[in-house]
């Protein structure tokens, strides 16, 4: 087969299982294509040789009971991978090789997947365009005269899935870092309920918001990956005890009678006409699938973004204190300890990371704590309450994923507020800890993909996935980029 890389993860696994293709062929197919796609700058580090070797071993020792047997999977470079450089796209961790494997990735490998490499992202997952990476911009396979950003922070992951450089991937989502890039690249991205997947071994950005999740070509792939990576972990006190279902097996497109909420507050200022049209298209689609549409109100939505930009930096300012040059990673010497800290952190962190550390330090400072951090926590509770109230009447909530399609590299880099607005529709689900998925639903006039978001009740990923699956089948989105970079 010449174009294995074009298949979905589930299709590949099936063909491996039926011995129609070998693990080695699959791996070679992705390695070959990734090798020709360096221009997209998706990979910070590849592990092609190891992956190839493992795939050959797998062909010799067939384990058909493994859920991801033979799947080559590159992961966001925020997951610690044993013996393989893990940088969080920061100069601070350049060359850092953990002696441990994150819980989420070790679950992938124990189901027979092989690490293909580490994917570029925004530095410490702070960004919405992948432009804050120490290892350079990632380029979106979709093009509009200029090179476009893939979104962020899981930009390398999104581009890699869209451009077929990995069979699927896992990203992390703190304020939209899985869903927004999925939307920008015409792929599926799922942020599970907070606590669904262990955070152990993932470089922390904002602990109360971070959540790992699948990024795939279609909904079924996401369902399969989620059932592999989810589950309680003794090593993460915030991971949930909830039972993990066989999401992929229970996946169904019959969603007749499902009640879907349309929050009026998501018609935010500056949202493009095309996005509103897409949303309308989504509403029509679910109506025709027999769902009941309900207008709902999430009155505190407008406070979500400012709330997020207090809580996330606050936690980040503390989480990133450990990168001090003392024990590992980058160090710039100084005449004393304080100067060493100053030099190390000035040179080791990029501008966006420093900006957020400063914001976070400020909002936690004595005299400002109550006005910012404490108030933000209270508003966060109100946002959660809005959702709880809404979910008394609906099963899922349908919204656009982003207020616009992918933008050109450099377009928003000097305007942090404009950049932060990218997350306006995705952060509420993080603040409320809810599962949310972005699925590709159409193109804008420039032929750039647009995504729809479905938000569900806590730990009700199954309903979210079913709903997404039904829309996916109904809309039948097809990637339409050309391999212009080869």
């Amino acid at each position: 087969m010449s174009e294995i890389y074009k298949l979905t993860l589930c299709q590949i696994l099936e063909k491996i299982k039926s011995k129609e293709i070998s693990c080695e062929e699959v791996t070679k197919s992705f390695i070959d294509r990734a090798g020709k796609s360096k221009k997209l700058n998706c990979f910070i580090e590849d592990t092609f040789d190891q992956a190839l070797k493992k795939s050959k071993d797998q062909d010799n020792k067939f384990e058909s009971d493994k859920k991801l047997f033979g799947a080559p999977i590159a992961v966001k470079d925020l997951f610690c991978t044993k013996g393989v450089q893990t940088t969080a796209s920061s100069k601070m961790l350049e060359g850092f090789k953990p002696e441990y494997e994150s819980t989420v990735t070790s679950k992938l490998w124990s189901e027979g997947a092989n690490l293909l490499g580490k994917l570029n992202c925004d530095e410490y997952a702070m960004g919405s365009s992948n432009e804050t990476s120490h290892f350079g911009n990632v380029i979106n396979p979709y093009k509009n005269n200029k090179d476009l950003v893939p979104g962020g922070s899981s930009g390398g992951s999104a581009s890699a899935v869209a451009a077929c450089l990995t069979s699927a991937t896992v990203g992390t989502d703190t304020g939209g870092s899985i869903r927004q890039p999925a939307s920008f690249t015409g792929t599926v991205g799922l942020k599970p309920t907070y606590g669904r997947c262990s955070r152990w071994g993932i470089v922390a950005f904002a602990s109360s918001l971070d959540q790992a999740g699948p990024m795939t070509k279609d909904v079924k792939d996401s369902a399969l990956l989620l059932e592999v990576i989810a589950g309680h972990d003794n090593k993460d006190s915030t991971s949930a005890q909830n039972k993990v279902e066989s999401f992929s097996q229970k996946l169904k497109k019959d969603i007749k009678g499902l009640k879907i909420g349309i929050p009026k507050e998501y018609k935010v200022d500056g949202i493009s006409k095309e996005i509103l049209n897409l949303w309308e298209k989504g509403i029509e689609a679910v109506k025709s699938l027999g769902c009941e549409i309900k207008e709902i109100s999430l009155p505190h939505t407008k406070y979500a973004l400012p709330t997020y930009y207090i809580i996330a930096p606050a936690e980040a300012s503390s989480n990133l204190a450990r990168y001090d040059g003392v024990r590992y990673g980058f160090r710039a010497e100084g005449k004393d300890l304080i100067e060493m800290y100053e030099n190390t952190r000035s040179l080791g962190f990029g501008d966006e990371v420093k900006r957020r550390i400063l914001i976070g330090t400020y909002v936690l400072s004595s005299g400002y704590y109550d006005a910012y951090y404490l108030k933000a926590q209270r508003v966060r509770r109100l946002i959660k309450n809005d959702f709880d109230e809404a979910f008394k009447n609906v099963d899922t909530i349908l919204t656009p994923t982003t207020p616009s399609s992918a933008f050109a590299i450099g377009e928003n880099i000097d305007d942090p507020i404009a950049m932060y607005l990218n997350d306006v529709l995705t952060v509420p689900a993080n603040l409320a800890g809810l599962p949310a998925i972005s699925i590709p639903a159409g193109y804008d006039q420039n032929n750039l993909p647009l995504g729809l978001q479905l938000i569900g009740k806590p730990f009700d990923e199954q309903t979210v996935l079913n709903n997404a699956f039904a829309i996916e089948q109904s809309i039948n989105f097809k990637p339409n980029y050309k391999d212009w970079w080869m």
Binding site: C80, E99, V203, S207, S237, T238, S318, Y328, L337, T361
Partner: protein, 489 residues
């Protein structure tokens, strides 16, 4: 006996001053593992040999609460007669230092696990109640070493992440000796509970001391200074004395005391400024998002309460009421759990009162002389009990017992055997005693006459002569009785 009066007032030129002291005691939780990681906590291990990925704050590592440390804190809280909070939270205290890998210490700021309690002290002027403000759990930091290399500092993270209980007292202490008694009492309670070994020389118990002064009789508190990290009772007492006098000096000179953090220089025996209030760290406390709030079931607390061992105050009451010990004896014996166990073991196999007398007399003197702890006592409880029983049944006299004891401490000898071998057995045969008395009296006729004519003091002379003749082994009670009888005739 008239009770003594509290008299620790410091004299200045312009009157007497009262010293007000509050302590923040840091007690290392007795636990095999650290507060948020499974690393070992053994003292004196090779540097950086007890460091997990969590302790070293590697990227992506997360803390997981060690339930045993929670249990230890609750037990200590119960021992301090304190309120156990069913809801508590861990916060991050943010600051940078080379031996603080995370860049923050996980502590409890707004919602400590233990609330208000109290501790009772036995002072020469009566009992004194000291209020406990709170007890919270926190991580210890690592250790920076600046003397290993001319150009570099080294860091040992063995201590990083070890569980500490910070026990905050109310400003109820008024003198260095009350501070000494308070620390001893806390240590004793925690040793009874097995929640902290209290080894100050190993740093398992240390304190920040808050000191202020005010004119005697004043109700207002003065401005306090905090003396950081003092690790012995003696140093605490010296530091308080120095600091109180320094503050009085300032006040009398018309200056004001600045609220600040100070260090005690143990060599110069003085405190000096470390940082002023203006330079105080802004720790940016906020709830640790990696940990869920700690919620405890009432039944869990009640079960711990039920299984609590007897505590020093209870034991003291029991020793007074059941064992008929004096308040003083009981206080001395309960102050150290090992001592009280030793005592009880001896007492229940011999005689309550004699056991106390011998323990606090001969045995303490021996331990003192040899610089040993009760746990290293050269005389076992079994043998001391045997010896006391020999006194009780008249086999040896109290005086002979001292000789036997001298022998026993050499290699924990069996007192029965020593008495046998050395021929120290007391003679209680009335016939034999009578014969010797007759012999002494007949050869001292003149003295007998003098006695009978009123020189009562000579009775002691006759006893002495008889004892001498019997090589000290005569039963003193019987000698007395028979002699009295003979001399009456």
């Amino acid at each position: 006996m008239s009770e003594k009066q509290f008299d620790y007032y410091l004299k200045g030129e312009k009157g007497e001053y009262e010293v007000v002291i509050g302590l923040e005691v840091h007690a290392q939780v007795l636990s095999e593992a650290k507060l948020f990681s499974p690393s070992a906590t053994k003292f004196g291990s090779k540097p950086n040999s007890q460091v997990s990925l969590v302790d070293a704050a590697m990227p992506g590592m997360l803390p997981v609460i060690n339930k045993f440390c929670i249990e230890q804190a609750i037990k200590t809280g119960l021992g301090l007669n304190a309120k156990i909070n069913t809801f508590s939270k861990f916060d991050r205290k943010n600051y940078f230092y080379a031996d603080l890998p995370q860049g923050y210490q996980i502590s409890q700021f707004k919602h400590p696990i233990v609330g208000e309690g109290k501790v009772i002290l036995d002072m020469p002027y009566g009992t004194k109640e000291v209020g406990i403000e709170r007890l919270h759990l926190e991580q210890d930091a690592g250790k920076s070493m600046h003397d290993q290399d001319p150009n570099h500092s080294f860091v040992d993270l063995n201590r990083s992440g070890i569980a500490l209980m910070e026990i905050v007292s109310k400003p109820d202490l008024r003198s260095p000796s009350e501070v000494g008694e308070y620390i001893k009492k806390l240590r004793s309670i925690m040793r009874y509970l097995n929640t902290c070994d209290g080894n100050m020389e190993q740093g398992s118990l240390r304190a920040d001391v808050n000191v202020s002064v005010r004119k005697k009789g004043s109700k207002e508190f003065g401005t306090r200074c905090e003396i950081k990290n003092v690790n012995s009772i003696k140093f605490m007492q010296q530091a308080i004395d120095y600091e109180a006098k320094r503050q009085i000096g300032l006040i009398e000179d018309g200056k004001s005391v600045d609220q600040e953090t100070r260090l005690f220089d143990t060599k110069k025996q003085e405190t000096r400024s470390m940082r002023s209030k203006e330079d105080a760290h802004d720790y940016r406390y906020f709830p640790d998002p990696d940990l869920l709030p700690l919620q405890l079931e009432e039944s869990y607390i009640n079960n711990l309460k039920k299984d609590l061992p007897e505590l020093p105050d209870q034991k003291k009451q029991r020793l007074i009421s059941e064992f008929k010990l004096s308040n003083y004896e009981a206080s001395v014996i309960i102050s150290d759990q090992a001592v009280s166990s030793y005592y009880e073991e001896v007492a229940k196999n011999s005689d309550y009162k004699l056991a106390a007398t011998w323990l606090m007399g001969e045995l303490f003197a021996t331990l003192n002389k040899e610089g040993k702890e009760i746990t290293e006592s050269p005389v076992s409880t079994k043998n001391l009990a045997k010896m006391i029983n020999l006194i009780k049944d008249g086999t040896i006299s109290g005086k002979i017992a001292k000789t036997v004891f001298e022998e026993m401490i050499k290699n924990d000898g069996d007192p029965g055997q020593i008495v046998e071998e050395k021929g120290l057995k007391q003679t209680s045969d009335p016939k034999e005693i009578e014969n010797i008395i007759d012999k002494i009296l007949s050869s001292n006729q003149d003295k007998v006459e003098q006695f009978k004519s009123g020189k009562d003091k000579l009775f002691g002379f006759f006893v002495g002569q008889v004892m001498k003749e019997m090589k000290g082994k005569g039963n003193p009670g019987m000698i007395n009785d028979i002699l009295k009888d003979k001399l009456k005739k």
